[in-house]
Amino acid sequence: MITLTVNGKNVKVPEGTRLLDAIRCAGFEVPTLCDHPALEPWGGCRMCLVDVTRTEWDGWCKMVVSCMFPAEEGLLVLTDTERVRSTRRVVIDLLLARCPDTPLIQQMAAKHGLERTTYEPNPAPTDCILCGLCTRVCDHIGVSAISSVNRGAGREIAPPFHEAPPDCIGCLACAEICPTSCIPYETSDSRRSIWGKEFEMVRCARCGRAHITRDEAAHFSDRTGVPSAYFDLCDACKRTDMARQFVKLSEGAGTAP
């Protein structure tokens, strides 16, 4: 365990803890937009900036992104200095200019004292903040159907050639993880589509409800060894089935494990 000080408060965390988690552990808030506990830290949104210093540094502070900086023994962390606040304000102001109509950004901007952006608002407003969560989650699942394309001001998230992505398995994780819900998709008991791709569905052998895409089933049984037969029935039918099994069992033995 290592001990560090966050805004004057001591906190003990295991070695290898990220500064962000240590700060939260100490009970302080740090805004983030591109962080997700299940994914590798990325350091793109720059909202989690904090100042760090040490007693021997003589008042000199270093600004770091807490999502990637490791918690270190004896570190003094300041999450609310004037320059941290003003830098975060510039960042959220810039995002608000990019996404003037996005509720999440509006709320975060309001928390930093900004009603509207001080910059030139995007003439073609978008909800995408380019946090990279969608592409990272897609990589994490082992699919990599979408990616960032172009660079600089022209950067965007897109499938290859801006066409229906051949590798997409339709798991919707990208849409679910998107903090501004800006990836459109459709899913129902009969069909699913995302990124302009229409998926072939696995229909429940009992009720006929489409509950998973064919690609999803194949991808996950390939990667994890879960038998593909598990995907034959939908979850509701499997539950009903199990209830029936119970009855049979109870007639015989009496208990279920």
Binding site: R46, F69, G152, A153
Partner: protein, 633 residues
């Protein structure tokens, strides 16, 4: 033949020296990119043909050789006759015969092709007497222009790999690092990090695989010293890398070369093959049992790949997105292995340091910046080209003594150093000694050694805006402050140059700049505001003129500038009308010419060509007043 021991190496060098001595008269034709563009390929061929046609006996020993960049690109194609050291400038193929005659006679020069000193108007015969060369001290560029980059034997005859032999046979890896430490060598790519410290860390780092990388992604516009080194003396880079690999215990290396430098790739590839064949690279180098091999990785055209973590991702075949560096590359770099990354010039220095000793290198330069540094001196200066000088030389000496002053003897305004991460220094800083600390202190930086000289016809707001557009295109777009910040900063500047500026703009620029400096992920974003802040620091008036006065004092921003012809000064020569791309100037021969404001696009072509300085520019907002008083039609 493979060289597998120290004795064999000495033998090989001696043989190469003897061969070189047999070449009694050498015609060195510069075939760097600059001279090639001026037609030096044809010149080299013409010399070759002439030599063959003469069918001279071997005892005359007349040879021609294609070399790398001599540096004085302005005057290319360049030809040097050795051993006399006669420098011919602007040579054409038809001059070959004449020059050879003189050379074979063994005395004298073809005077019409000699360099004329613009100051004294006198022809200068010897290479070493030309002011551009006289004041240089070459270490990294020691063999450029002397050796044929496609010939390892020639390089060996000129001392290549001597430092490597000393390192491998006389020293331990620790001693090599000590020698580098003693030299005080700091990274020549921009930031100036202590080379020895990097090596030490990488030597200490645990890992089966370690890498040494060479950063040849010289992206700073206006800098081309790395290109010249890779093209003109690739073996100096390889030698440095093998020494570095030996010091840290690496067996694999990459040279990352910009896509825009095709000739560098050709010469490096050739050099690697030759070095491998001779046992200077690859397995069991010089019979010592040490293995090290190098691959070339061609960049895809992205400035951000000059940033170390982006460069490493690019070598891995990924997009050049930088990674936050809280773990040093010396612990986890390319392919997650301990990695030392140094700039081309740094590697080229290493061999010389090992050969001549760290103390020798440290005897040059300033207290904290040791040795020499290569610069590309370009822009509105008379002698443009490549130079190498001891650290601590003043800007004035560089620009006025070596560079010969400003083109057309116009007033000096600023010099831009450090590329898009650097800044512009004004006249008051001309006596500043150039080293890492001084440049940073002045709000600029060393960068990769580009020095772009600007005269009074350069608008500093336009220069800052140029760098913003450059960076906006080159930002990888990963982090918000850099991607969105540059876009917004550029929008403010677009307003300034279009006359839409407001007094509050300067404050907004400063606030945004601070946010970008503190908030950006990598050095590209952190340093992106430097050109803006340094111009703002030294040329605030010009910003005020744009923001409040809606005027461009240098007459460069078209939306703010109008032109007219001063009646008394016009001699009716018609140059302006011919130069005008918009056909906006009319006038009879020998009579006053007139600019039709409705058609004028304010390009300034007329201003530039007018031999009598009869064209003047003024703020466009005064146009109505001028027209009322009948000053222009």
């Amino acid at each position: 033949m493979r060289i597998d021991s120290r004795a064999r190496f000495e033998e090989a060098v001696a043989a190469c020296r003897r061969a070189a001595e047999g070449r009694k008269i050498e015609v060195l034709v510069c075939c760097g990119t600059g001279c090639l563009a001026n037609g030096s390929q044809a010149v080299a061929e013409a010399f070759q043909k002439e030599v063959e046609a003469r069918n001279l006996p071997a005892s005359v020993g007349l040879f021609t050789k294609k070399t790398g960049c001599h540096g004085f690109c302005e005057r290319g194609p360049l030809v040097v006759i050795q051993p006399e050291g006669i420098l011919y400038t602007k040579v054409k193929p038809e001059h070959a015969g004449e020059i050879l005659e003189k050379a074979a006679e063994g005395g004298g020069a073809v005077s019409k092709l000699l360099y004329k000193d613009p100051a004294t108007k006198k022809a200068v015969e010897k290479y070493g007497d030309v002011p551009f060369y006289k004041n240089q001290t070459r270490v990294a560029m020691r063999n450029i222009g002397k050796v044929d980059p496609a010939d390892l034997d020639d390089a060996l005859a000129h001392g290549a790999y001597a430092g490597l032999v000393q390192a491998l046979f006389d020293l331990t890896p620790e001693k090599v690092i000590e020698e580098i430490e003693r030299s005080g060598l700091r990274g020549r790519g921009g930031a100036g990090f202590q080379t020895a410290r990097k090596w030490k860390a990488a030597r200490k780092a645990k890992g089966e695989r370690k890498f040494v990388l060479c950063n040849g992604d010289e992206g700073d516009p206006g800098a081309f010293k790395d290109r010249s080194i890779m093209e003109g003396d690739p073996h100096s880079v390889l030698e440095g890398m093998v020494i570095g690999a030996f010091a840290i215990g690496a067996h694999e290396g990459y040279i990352y070369v910009r896509d825009e430098y095709p000739l560098a790739v050709v010469h490096l590839t050739l050099a690697i093959e030759q070095a491998r064949r001779r046992g200077l690279l690859g397995e069991n180098i010089l019979g010592t049992g040490f293995d090290f091999d190098v691959k070339i990785s061609r960049g895809g055209g992205a400035f951000v790949c000059g940033e170390s973590s982006a460069l490493m991702r690019s070598i891995e075949g990924k997009t050049g997105e930088p990674r936050q560096k809280y773990v040093h590359a010396t612990d986890r770099g390319v392919f997650d292995c301990p990695t030392v990354l140094n700039n081309v010039e740094t590697w080229a220095d290493v061999g010389a340091i090992l050969h001549k000793g760290g103390d020798w290198f440290a005897s040059m330069g300033t207290a904290k910046s040791k040795g020499t540094k290569a610069f590309s001196l370009v822009g509105k200066v008379k002698n443009t080209g490549l130079i190498e000088l001891p650290m601590g030389t003043t800007l004035r000496h560089i620009i006025f003594d070596i560079g010969g002053g400003i083109l057309g003897d116009r007033p000096f305004k600023a010099v831009q150093t450090g590329g898009p991460s650097g800044g512009c220094l004004p006249e008051s800083h001309l006596d500043y000694p150039v080293d890492y600390e001084k440049l940073t202190e002045a709000g600029s930086m060393m960068g990769s050694g580009g020095m772009i000289v600007m005269d009074d016809r350069t608008c500093m707001v336009d220069v800052a805006r140029y760098f913003l557009s450059f960076l906006m295109e080159e930002s990888c777009g990963k982090c918000v402050p850099c991607r969105e910040g540059l876009k917004q900063m550029k929008a403010i500047f677009d307003g300034l140059v279009a006359g839409r500026g407001v007094p509050g703009d300067i404050g907004r620029i400063e606030r945004l700049a601070e946010g970008m400096q503190l908030g950006s992920l990598c050095e590209l974003g952190k340093s992106a505001p430097n050109p803006v802040l340094s111009t703002l620091r030294y040329f605030r008036d010009e910003y005020m003129a744009h923001a409040e006065g809606k005027a461009c004092p240098a007459g460069i921003c078209r939306d703010l500038t109008a032109y007219e012809i001063i009646a008394e000064a016009c001699n009716g020569c018609g140059s302006c009308a011919r130069a005008c791309p918009a056909d906006a100037i009319t006038g009879e021969k020998k009579a006053l010419h007139v600019i039709h404001q409705g058609r004028c696009i304010s390009c300034g072509a007329c201003y530039t060509v007018c031999p009598t300085d009869a064209v003047r520019f003024f703020p466009k907002r005064e146009l109505a007043a001028v027209q009322e008083t009948g000053g222009a039609s």
